[in-house]
Amino acid sequence: MNLEDIIKETKTYYCLECGKCTSICPVSRHNSNFSPRLMLERALMGFEDELIHDRELFSCLTCYACSHLCPSDVDYPVFTQKVRNLASSQGEHGDCAHSGTLFSLMRLISRSDIKQKRLDWLDGCRTSQKSEVLYFVGCAPYFEPIFQDIEVSPVSIARNSIKILNALGIEPMVLPNERCCGHDLLWTGDVETFKKLAQLNAQMIKETGAKKIVFSCPEGYRTFKIDYPQYVELDCELMHITELLAQNLSTLSLRAKRSNPEVKKVTYQDPCRLGRHLGIYEPPREIIRAIPGMKLVEMEHSGDESICCGTSAWTNCGSYSKEIRVERLLEARATGAGMLVTACPKCQIHFKCAMVDKGAEKGPDIEMEVMDIVTLVANALGGKSGE
């Protein structure tokens, strides 16, 4: 696919050059080298080389803040995704955080003959070999050791998700050799490896006969729902765990944490992939409101105006990403909430990472509790959640 094809496919020629995208973009607000409007303009004017070799091509968070407001309905994130594919074929890949180890892992996971050991954390969870429902675990078993120093436990999110499913009377299947959904590879231009992962996942899921797949990670959910159908055939109903929970709130007995009977003010971060990508805003809010002792307060920018957690696909994570996170965390603290509730493991990781402040000279005070909604619910179920 060349640049002209991309322009045609994403209908970017409708762009009016109005600049609404740039004015709302969280990256542009902090990084004057980046502007969605200018990127499009370069493409439309045929400056392919400048576009492809610009490092800022990889700065877009693909958060859809721009397209949400665009009067011409230009799909800027998909445009970016496809141009990155072109750039990738010329050896460009932006700056990969964590030395690129996450991407190396994704590529290793795409090899056909591996036998992963991904399910050691299942104790206390009831799963089944044959169920209509499959729980997609995602990258939690890998994130657990990698991010242990910032005090997050992605595996607890997976464990708590299954506990919640158990409480709803479901004993889901889990894939012992599940592959990464490939979201980060797709969005940074490595479509070939993404395809391999999709094919491997689709094959394994078909073999289980599952009819419904539940996700606790919005990125996995979005990828299966919107991107997989272009590459593989998978005939399953797909749901985020908050959708399932919101539908079944009455069947769960939720109670306040015994240790702290006071009302706790919390605020909620809409993940880009759940919110603007898939339109799911209310279910997580219904859930929070249903927990006794919790009072939901909204940040200045919430719902479809929510601001992204600052980094997408571990790419071009830098000083601007930190500024975005600080801005968002100050918004969270301004609500008076003692806790920020997230519904995406990446959001939790990025916000906790922003709070790391080990130098002698300290930065702004942005410390606060960051908890995944699944853990919030599991705690309120009364049993031990293990966060």
């Binding site: 830098g318 000083s319 790391v356």
Partner: protein
């Protein structure tokens, strides 16, 4: 972007490489690699004509990268970097592939070794593509030198440097300088009186205008790097005012409490307030706080009553002195092996089993027996056995030979013969008389009627089997030349214990950031070609802390270290290694993980134009790479060891 043009040079190293690796084949292979403009093979790349090949090609082909495949970069990387620099190419645009130590010398199959050499060359060519020119910066330095340890090595080094009119700080942890040499009686083979040759030097140190003597002091902290070391020294309180004390010694006379003297190796006594020996420099008294009745119980103060100069000061406190130096010389000396660790020799059990140092003090005219060789009960010995290799050349204790014992063993034999009528039995495995006048001395001692028994003593016992052995110590050995077990009854046994590293060598090594060898002594940079330098720039070692040696060798090393230390500071400026950490501020999130992990305090999170970023102090950074590994965004990288460079090697090595 400029076109990368690589020149590749495969060295034959005579037959060292070419004998196993098909060097012409490797050169042909290199010629076909991407970006390689010229590839040659040559007999000796490090030679002048070899280097000329590189320099000419740089000029004629416009090379901007050079790869040499030859010996280890630890040998000749500096050589080829200099060659590049001479031809106008930045020296860091050079990469070295090791196809000798890591290839031709360790594999024998020609085909396999050649394939491996090709892999290593391919990886070097790939890596050098990503090299950047690096600027070697210079900064001013501190022209002082710190010498740690005031034995003969430290004294010699300090004098050599001070005579060059550079300030020397000489730190010594004992109350006086002089070290072990001050305890020796006569020195082999000339039998000079040790104190007589040492004392003039000690006095010179005490009076030299360029030497600041910090005795009874220890180094507590060392920060900084070559050219700019910042050192904290604790000057321990003597409870005696050095300015007022005249060293008259009356205080020691009047002190009611006597304890074992360390200088006399426990066979003599000293006062609790004392001068360690008569020629001590600084010539002032010291109160042993741990044993002083005033400090322990609040009583006495006799010394104060009798001191005419009013020099006693019980309120004195330790002083922390902060000093700066451009280079450091460690001359911390040795400990004597504890012969009690070999119970078979009876040291500590039998009265008349002595160690070498104890015997030295005995024969010394100023020692506790006034130079008389006496048994514990005051009689003169009628016979003595000198046992070599106690703790040396022994798998169970120290594998190495302590180098000086054969000679001093012979010296003792001679001294006993000279001063008594005793029979002397030299019990040895080999006679190591390698130095100037040594073999001649051995002959002389043979002619004096000393009995040489070639056999390592297995046991010293006082259990007599015959009438003759009653009341004696019996040394049991096999006389290997006669093929017979012998029991040698003697009155006195002198042990030649090993020289071993100081008990605090590990702490000292850590303090000064140097390594130790497998045998525990400080590690030199190169055994043959750089014996007084250490892996740490600006820190040098000399004397027995580097390994057992005699006084001539110690003095030679001390002067060598002084020359090295002077060459660091005489330029007036020090080179800042450019291969250190650097921050890409666009990627920095000021998380502080770099500041947390660094042992050298190089990176710090600071505010720069209102933005918080990490900043690396180039003078402190050693380029170890730890900060780059913990940096989550990749903002921190190490010049000349970037992730891109190392990744490119991994890819190149495995892609075929």
């Amino acid at each position: 972007m400029e076109e990368i043009k690589v020149g590749v040079y495969i060295c034959h190293c005579g037959l060292n490489i070419a004998g196993t690796v098909d060097v012409e084949e490797v050169a042909r292979y290199a010629q076909g690699l991407p970006s390689v403009v010229v590839a040659r093979d040559y007999r000796y790349m490090c030679s002048d004509p070899g280097q000329a090949l590189i320099k000419d090609d740089i000029k004629n082909f416009g090379l901007n990268r050079v790869v040499v495949a030859s010996c280890s970069p630890r040998m000749h990387e500096p050589t080829f970097r200099r060659a590049c620099q001479d031809a106008g190419l930045n020296p860091y645009l050079f990469e070295h592939a090791n196809i000798r130590e890591h290839c031709s010398w360790v594999h024998d199959d020609r085909q396999i070794a050649t394939e491996k050499a090709k892999d290593l060359v391919r990886a070097a060519v790939r890596r050098v593509y990503y090299h950047e020119p690096l600027e070697i910066k210079e900064r001013p330095l501190n022209p002082n030198v710190l010498v740690v340890g005031g034995g003969i090595a430290g004294i010699q080094a300090a004098l050599d440097i001070a005579n060059g009119e550079h300030r020397v700080y000489l730190v010594e942890k004992e109350p006086s300088i002089g070290g072990h040499m001050a305890q020796l009686d006569r020195t082999f083979p000339t039998l000079d009186c040790s104190e007589c040759i040492l004392t003039p030097k000690m006095t010179e140190v005490g009076q030299h205008p360029f030497i600041t003597l910090l005795a009874y002091s220890e180094v507590e902290e060392v920060l900084g790097s070559v050219g700019n070391f910042k050192v904290k020294v604790r000057k321990k309180a003597r409870y005696v005012d050095e300015e007022k004390c005249t060293g008259c010694g009356v205080c020691e006379e009047k002190c009611p409490w006597k304890v074992d003297s360390e200088f006399e190796v426990g066979i003599g006594k000293r006062g609790v307030i004392y001068l360690p020996f008569a020629q001590a420099i600084p010539h002032v008294a010291t109160i042993d706080k741990e044993r002083c009745v005033y400090f322990l119980k609040g009583k006495c103060r006799a010394c104060e009553k009798f001191c005419d100069a009013k020099a006693i000061d019980f309120e004195q406190e330790d002083e922390i002195i902060e000093l700066e130096a451009g280079s450091i010389i460690l001359t911390t000396g040795y400990d004597l092996f504890d012969a009690g660790r070999i119970p078979q020799y009876g040291y500590g059990r039998y009265d008349n089993v002595l160690t070498a140092l104890e015997f030295e003090r005995m024969t010394c005219a100023a020692g506790p027996t006034e130079g008389k060789i006496l048994l514990r009960d005051g009689r003169q010995p009628e016979s003595a056995a000198i046992i070599h290799c106690v703790g040396s050349r022994d798998e169970n204790y120290h594998e190495y030979c302590s180098r000086v014992c054969c000679m001093y063993g012979l010296k003792y034999a001679h001294l006993i013969k000279e001063n008594t009528q005793a029979e002397v039995y030299q019990m040895y495995i080999d006679m190591r008389c390698f130095g100037e006048g040594f073999e001649e001395f051995y002959r002389r001692v043979c002619d004096e009627g000393v009995n040489f028994i070639r056999g390592k003593v297995a046991k010293v016992t006082d259990v007599a089997l015959t009438e003759e052995e009653q009341g004696k110590l019996i040394a049991i050995a096999e006389d290997t030349l006669l093929g017979r077990i012998v029991r040698v009854p003697v009155d006195m046994v002198i042990l030649c214990p090993a020289l071993e590293p100081r008990s605090d060598a590990e702490d000292v090594a850590k303090l000064f950031t140097i390594n130790r060898r497998a045998d525990g002594f400080f590690m030199e940079r190169h055994v043959k070609l750089d014996p007084v330098a250490t892996a740490t720039e600006g820190v040098f070692i000399a004397g027995c802390c580097e390994g057992p040696k005699d006084i001539p060798d110690t003095v030679a090393q001390a002067s060598a270290a002084a020359a090295k230390a002077l060459s660091v500071i005489s330029r007036g400026r020090v080179v800042i290694e450019p291969t250190i950490a650097q921050v890409n501020e666009a990627l920095c999130q000021a998380c502080g993980r770099c500041e947390e992990i660094c042992d050298f305090h190089a990176p710090k999170v600071i505010s720069k134009d209102g933005v918080r970023v990490s900043s690396v102090d180039a003078a402190l950074c050693k380029g170890c790479g730890a900060c780059a590994v913990v940096c989550p965004t990749g903002a921190m990288s190490i010049r000349h060891s970037t992730r891109e460079q190392i990744n490119s090697m991994v890819e190149a090595l495995l892609e075929v």
